[in-house]
Chain length 134, copies 2
DNA sequence: ACTACAATTTAGAATTAGTCTAAGTTTAGG
DNA sequence: CCTAAACTTAGACTAATTCTAAATTGTAGT
């Protein structure tokens, strides 16, 4: 250990692989799984490995640049929109869309009171039928 | 096919295996995973197979007798409390507790309006630190 | 009771998501 | 250049879940 621990990024870099993963997530309207991301990112960086996708996702998640969401089916989805928001899932076609409920801050307080937890975040999931499936 | 299609259960039964799975879920305060359930149910029905646990969970879920919940880590949890309720997850120890937010009905309406979905249910997840971890 | 059919269970193989490891590569600093 | 730390790679590995095919059980009708 030298005395100089100079930058807040702790020597971590946004490598081309990480950039490619981030770009894929941001470009897509839907919420891709790790394997969707792997396939798409591989078109830019053909040598990209699956493990690197997971490593990159972990890095980006910890850096607050993407968000991991999951519903039921054991395959996390990734979301490049990092502002707090909620999700609606179509019970017919499985489509996942974003929306924001402005009353969330207040909700979080109410939920923390009820559960006796110290609140960090709240997330609301609506299950229903999307406009296309009606 | 005889003319008599007598009962609404469509010939489906609550077998001893399904009962055992249901009993395990109802007896536990926590929210067991499929493998927790498998181990516990096997103590009553030693011949029980893993596949039957999954089949039973599917049956019970579709019959509305248990609820499947999942958070992040690719291992669904099961909950025998079927009234509508919300969950709080401890970001330190992973503990999952139930609580109910009475304003849910109103929330569901607001969320449906925002997302343009026809609402079926809402579920709120609070992430935070549980009382034990503070 | 006996037969036939449908629903169910079983064991284990197969699939899928995600993690780990070890070796090679890149980058920044001296 | 030389080194150390951070990264990437391929592939092995683990864990969760689904699938398949054969054996079993339950129900109706005879």
């Amino acid at each position: 250990m030298s005395g100089s621990e100079q930058d807040s990024s702790g020597g971590q870099r946004l490598t081309p692989q990480r950039e490619a993963v981030l770009a894929v997530i941001r470009e897509r309207e839907d919420h891709p799984t790790a394997s969707d991301i792997f396939e798409a990112a591989r078109k830019r960086l053909p040598s990209l490995s699956y493990a690197t996708v997971y490593n990159s996702l972990k890095f980006l998640r910890e850096a607050g640049m993407v968000r991991e969401i999951s519903f039921g089916d054991c395959a996390s989805r990734y979301d490049g929109v990092i502002d707090r928001h909620d999700h609606a899932i179509c019970s017919i076609c499985g489509k996942l869309v974003d929306f924001d409920l402005p009353e969330a801050a207040e909700l979080m307080r109410a939920a923390a009171r009820k559960s006796k937890f110290k609140a960090e975040s709240v997330h609301l999931t609506l299950t229903g039928v999307c406009p296309d499936c009606r």
